[in-house]
Symmetry: C2
Subunit: 247 residues, 2 copies
Amino acid sequence: DPAKGSSPDELASLTVAAVLRQDDGSLKPTGTSHALGDVRLLPPVLPSKIVAFGRNYAEHAAELGNEVPDVPVTFLKPSTSVVGPGDPVPYPSFSSEVHHEAELAVVIGRVCRDVPVERVPEVILGYTCANDLTARDAQRAEKQWARAKGFDGACPLGPWIENELDPADLAVTCTVNGEVRQSGRTSQMIRSVAEQIAFVSQAMTLLPGDVILTGTPAGVGPVQVGDEVAVTIEGIGTLTNRMVKRD
Amino acid sequence: DPAKGSSPDELASLTVAAVLRQDDGSLKPTGTSHALGDVRLLPPVLPSKIVAFGRNYAEHAAELGNEVPDVPVTFLKPSTSVVGPGDPVPYPSFSSEVHHEAELAVVIGRVCRDVPVERVPEVILGYTCANDLTARDAQRAEKQWARAKGFDGACPLGPWIENELDPADLAVTCTVNGEVRQSGRTSQMIRSVAEQIAFVSQAMTLLPGDVILTGTPAGVGPVQVGDEVAVTIEGIGTLTNRMVKRD
């Protein structure tokens, strides 16, 4: 549980312990450890699907001139949009207005459908940070958002999965080059994590590793090539990615 | 190539030859074969993503009161929506108005992105039939279509992948309980298969097995529990599924 309330100084002192998976599935420490800064973390999960909720924070809906929907707005992001912590995000060629959207991501732990709200905790593996990067110009121009929300690199996830966490009231922050752009709390969600997962699971079977993106608080805005975008969620840690020129 | 111009009588006489994959990846006939009616075919592909085009036939756009979009409408269906030929489709609990949408499905054969229109044939593995089942009531009520187009069973695919086929002018038919409901030709597409794949690949890397749904011709309409829905595409064959009560 390395990141709870971590400051940059605390993070610099974190180490990653190497483990080997045994034949029985258990993990055995090798005795080796590395400074966090010396390892490259992969995305903490490779989801078969990512289901995202739009307009789940009232202030964010209002800032884009939208009403809070009566029925949740749900959209999908493809697995090819996932990148890990520290990975570069190529600026998509079809957009000149990519926005950051810091979000709490929920990682599903077991096969499930028709999950009642009160049993949702049983199907959650844990939580990580996500950036629901959005080509806002394409989103305006195209009635459905597969391209605007689904381009390669549009879903940074990480830095790791936090298994023990109450998602009810966590600070969600996004900085661009160190400057705070989004600052909200998960308590401002219109629909709770449990309500969202119950809703999605009425339609779709959820598989282990599937990811639910729970909406972004107010303060979204553009990022440019070269910008460093960091999503920090209280109790989890920080997910940092740099926008780069697409080759 | 069993299905070109196949009539029911011809289909009844088709056999499926059993093969075993060798260590070098090649397929070796076992010498055993079975009547097509005696085997259960699985979905011919398990896609990592399904990218679908909306309103790609002018008459279909008009029948739902929509304009042909300046920019293509693209949406995603999740892998959990795929079922195979002959599989039952559970009627989703959140809808009372599921519509059939017969479509030509393109199966991608190699990792690719930024594919120029003229090189699209190089990235296509083949073609199959799809039914882009849509909860029309949810589609109207929800701004994004993840649930309306993404419920379990919403993407029947099959019966097999046809590798040698020119997609330019094929008859696409949908019957419900044997009655023709949709009857169009791929030549009526607003954007060709090649244009669609070039467009998608500007945003997303396509992986082997990914599926592109190319839009539905006019004539969409409701299906009920118990209905047998059949999508036939000239040169491929027929994909049949029955709507059943969801348990």
